[in-house]
């Protein structure tokens, strides 16, 4: 009897276990497509970008002997003679194999003028004879400058902090010390600050505009509520580009808004609402507003109206009831909306590109520039890496201070 019961229990436990396993396997299979999608579309590109921002083997691959010869050099005195002959060899081979342009473009990121210097030296390097130092100087006197060799040495390192340094407006001398770039070339630090500032401002504006609206919608009858919600959602169904271009039509100097202002205040009263920071702020706030309204609204719906009434019946003024009872309960929704808006705003680039003009540009516009125009993917990766790091830090701070379990999207 006892045995049977034990066997039965054992079987039950086993069945329970295996059915649990099966369920887990089923769940895993269900999320597998999503995981695969995320890996391909998200994890891989980001790792690739981060990898590019710290490593680049172009110079080490194309000019291997030069890289080896320069490694022993201190970066201050004359470069060793072995470096000259090694570079002559490497250049001849690079010219023959057609890799010279690639390596020259890479080194030119570090020091302007290296592109033509390397290419023109490579064209004649097969006629070089010892003493090589003189042969190099005969092509161009720049070869007598240790900084030029220092640039080659830094560029030949496979792992480099150079892109991150450049993304923080730093540059490196031949002996390896970091210094600030000249003031007229410093831009990224300022753009990072501006980007965070704009994202914060847009989040604040979205909260100021979105919270009252969400409150208003949440306190309507169900029918009106749905109608209003559709109005909030409507822009969602319109292309981002169309909405941004619509703002151009509205805000430009001879646009609708300014026509209205001119009607009241005369032609002189026209304001510059676009091609500057104002345009960026207005358009971004509008576009991101639904991300604030929707989570706030759905959290508001879940707050029982009885609580505010109870507070009032216990003697609270309407303001106290709102501020001490209602508001704290809706905060998780507003915080979720705020986080969403803030993080989306950090990476925005279409809108600033179209309405931001000169002063409304953000760091993402620079990343796009280095991706598509200057082809300095390493620097783009560095800028993107810093932005990503900044978001992660903020996220962690947020998790520590407020707690992620207090985030509610509905």
């Amino acid at each position: 009897m006892g045995n049977v019961a034990a066997v039965q229990t054992f079987n039950l436990a086993g069945q329970f276990k295996s059915s649990g396993k099966r369920a887990r396997r089923g769940t895993f299979l269900l999320v597998l497509p999503l995981l695969a999608f995320l890996t391909v579309s998200f994890v891989l590109p980001i790792s690739n970008m981060l990898n590019r921002s710290v490593s680049d083997s172009t110079v080490a691959d194309v000019l291997p002997r030069t890289a080896a010869a320069l490694r022993a050099w201190n970066g201050k005195d004359r470069p060793p003679f072995s470096a000259y002959s090694a570079l002559a060899d490497d250049l001849v081979r690079a010219e023959r194999e057609g890799t010279i342009g690639k390596v020259a473009a890479r080194v030119n990121f570090e020091r302007p003028g290296m592109l033509s210097l390397l290419k023109k030296t490579a064209r004649v390097a097969d006629r070089f004879e010892p003493p090589y130092a003189q042969a190099f100087n005969a092509v161009d006197l720049q070869w007598s400058d240790p900084e030029v060799w220092g640039t080659l040495r830094h560029a030949s390192a496979i792992h480099t902090a150079g892109y991150y340094a450049a993304a923080l407006d730093q540059t490196r001398k031949a002996d390896g010390t970091w210094i600030d770039k000249p003031e007229y070339e410093q831009v990224y630090v300022m753009l990072f600050e501006r980007t965070f500032w704009v994202a914060a401002l847009v989040t604040a504006l979205c909260f100021l505009l979105g919270y009252p609206l969400a409150y208003f919608i949440a306190h309507q009858s169900e029918r009106t509520r749905n109608l209003l919600l559709i109005l909030v959602l409507l822009p969602f169904w319109t292309s981002l580009l169309v909405r941004t271009t619509a703002w151009i039509a509205l805000l430009q100097t001879n646009g609708i808004v300014n026509d209205g202002i001119a009607l009241i205040g005369g032609e002189g009263a026209r304001l510059e609402l676009m091609h500057n920071m104002t345009g960026t702020l207005i358009a971004m706030t509008h576009i991101l507003l639904p991300f604030m309204i929707l989570p706030t609204y759905s959290v508001m719906l879940s707050v029982p109206p009885a609580l505010t009434r109870a507070a009032i019946s216990l003697g609270a003024t309407p303001w106290t009831a709102f501020w001490r009872v209602y508001f704290p309960m809706t905060l998780p929704g507003a915080a979720a909306g705020g986080l969403l808006v803030f993080i989306l705003a950090l990476g925005y680039y279409i809108t600033p590109a179209l309405v931001g003009g000169r002063t409304g540009q953000l760091i993402s516009n620079m990343i796009e520039f280095h991706m598509k125009t200057s082809l300095n993917w390493g620097l783009a990766g560095g800028l993107g890496g810093i932005l990503l790091g900044g978001v992660l830090v903020l996220y962690i701070v947020y998790a520590r201070v407020i707690g992620l379990n207090r985030l509610r999207l509905g």
Binding site: K181, L229, L240, L241, N254, S298, Y349, S374
Partner: protein
């Protein structure tokens, strides 16, 4: 409660959809969309061309029957001119099929294709500076100048093309020009005539349009306006003092500038009254003047000329057909034909006398060519080799200057 849940689900779905759309756009880049817009804008201006087009009717051929080529270009009226002048006759002559794809310049896409080994483009139309860069990076096939047909009078191609017209990886099709244009209804007594007037906001009030994306063009114009002769611009720019000088000149109008990016924007800015004068591509202004009848006037003084080229993407399976296409498209007649559709100058000297009337409007195209003698008295060539060396440092300074 059920409806509330439904609404919440709908909202969540909307967020997901929008996030998806955002990701897609961020991923694809806005330029695609801007390009779309650009294309639409230029397409709107397009005349009903086919009715009056002189249909080229070369003898039908089948040498490349069944083959297809992807030719990438800038879209709008420009691609239209290439389709009429190159693609249609090439298809008729060889039996090949040409798929025209639009892009917005730059070599990032080409680089991605070559590096991933998945080359889908065959021939790309690009600015010479980009072609040089792409050639350096090993993104283009070498083109043998010997395969290019000579001029009708027997002049070899190498001597027939404009200077720098044939490079190791690319063959020039057109000379285009960065010029200044103004809206003649915005000035009363005195009309601007020179580049210096562009920088004179006191006598010629109103906003100015300048290209945002690059210091190229802007620095040259600033120095030219400051009195530097054309042949000394680059030696001046090679010094820090010279660059300082250019930026100082630009500082004098910085607060009056509206910055443009795609080439369709300058005529649009003029038409909307956003600016009274702007830099831009001469072909775009011509289009607005002639096909839309806008009261724009081009100032040819101190124009900056640049070359646009055809290159073959490295690693394409159609190198033979692509090479045939490039050689066909850049012969004397084809380049002259293209000038009937757009106001860019043919890159061959032998094509200039063959330039006729606009295919739709019937006006004589010769006076509208950037390289017509009367327009190019003090024209300057953009030095693409100089820019290859210096764009990195000047871009940095340019971005810093712009952002402040």
């Amino acid at each position: 409660m059920g409806r509330t849940t439904a609404i919440i689900i709908a909202a969540a779905a909307a967020i997901v959809v929008l996030a998806g759309v955002l990701l897609f756009m961020l991923g694809r880049g806005s330029d695609g969309d801007v390009n779309e817009l650009d294309k639409e804008l230029s397409e709107m201006k397009l005349p009903d061309a086919d009715a009056t087009a002189p249909t080229p009717q070369p003898a039908g051929g089948t040498a490349l029957a069944g083959r297809s080529l992807v030719v990438v270009s800038w879209g709008g009226a420009y691609t239209k001119s290439q389709i009429e002048a190159y693609h249609k006759p090439f298809e008729a002559q060889t039996g090949a099929k040409i798929n025209s794809v639009d892009y917005n310049g730059g070599i990032a896409e080409m680089k991605a294709q070559v590096e991933s080994g998945n080359v889908t483009w065959d021939v790309v139309d690009m600015e010479l500076a980009d072609a040089q860069r792409a050639c350096d990076e090993g993104l283009l096939e070498k083109v043998d100048a010997g395969i290019l047909p000579p001029a009708p009078d027997g002049t070899p191609a190498v001597q027939d093309f404009v200077p720098n017209g044939i490079t190791p990886c690319a063959v020039t099709t057109i000379v285009f020009s960065h010029v200044i244009a103004y809206d003649s209804t915005k000035f009363e007594a005195k009309m601007p005539k020179t580049l210096a007037d562009f920088f004179n906001v006191k006598d010629f009030p109103g906003k100015r349009g300048l290209r945002k994306t690059s210091p190229k063009i802007n620095l040259e114009l600033a120095l030219r306006a400051d009195g530097v002769p054309a042949d000394q611009v680059y030696s001046e720019l090679a010094t820090k003092a010279g660059v300082d000088r250019a930026f100082k000149k630009l500082d004098s109008i910085k607060s009056h500038v509206i910055w443009w990016e795609p080439g369709s924007q300058p005529p649009q800015l003029l038409a909307d009254g956003q600016v009274t004068m702007t830099t831009g591509y001469n072909g775009r202004f011509f289009d607005a003047q002639v096909t839309e009848g806008k009261p724009f006037v081009i100032i040819w003084d101190s124009q900056l000329q640049e070359l646009d080229v055809l290159g073959i993407v490295k690693g394409t399976k159609n190198v033979d057909a692509a090479t045939q296409f490039v050689s066909f498209a850049t012969d004397t007649q084809r380049l002259a034909d293209q000038a009937q559709w757009i106001a860019y100058g043919p890159a061959r000297r032998s094509s200039l006398p063959l330039v006729g009337k606009h295919a739709v409007k019937g006006i004589d195209m010769k006076p509208h060519m950037p390289n017509a003698p009367e327009n190019s008295t003090n024209a300057m060539q953009i030095d693409f080799l100089w820019w290859a060396d210096h764009q990195e440092e000047l871009n940095q300074r340019w971005s810093a200057w712009l952002a402040k």
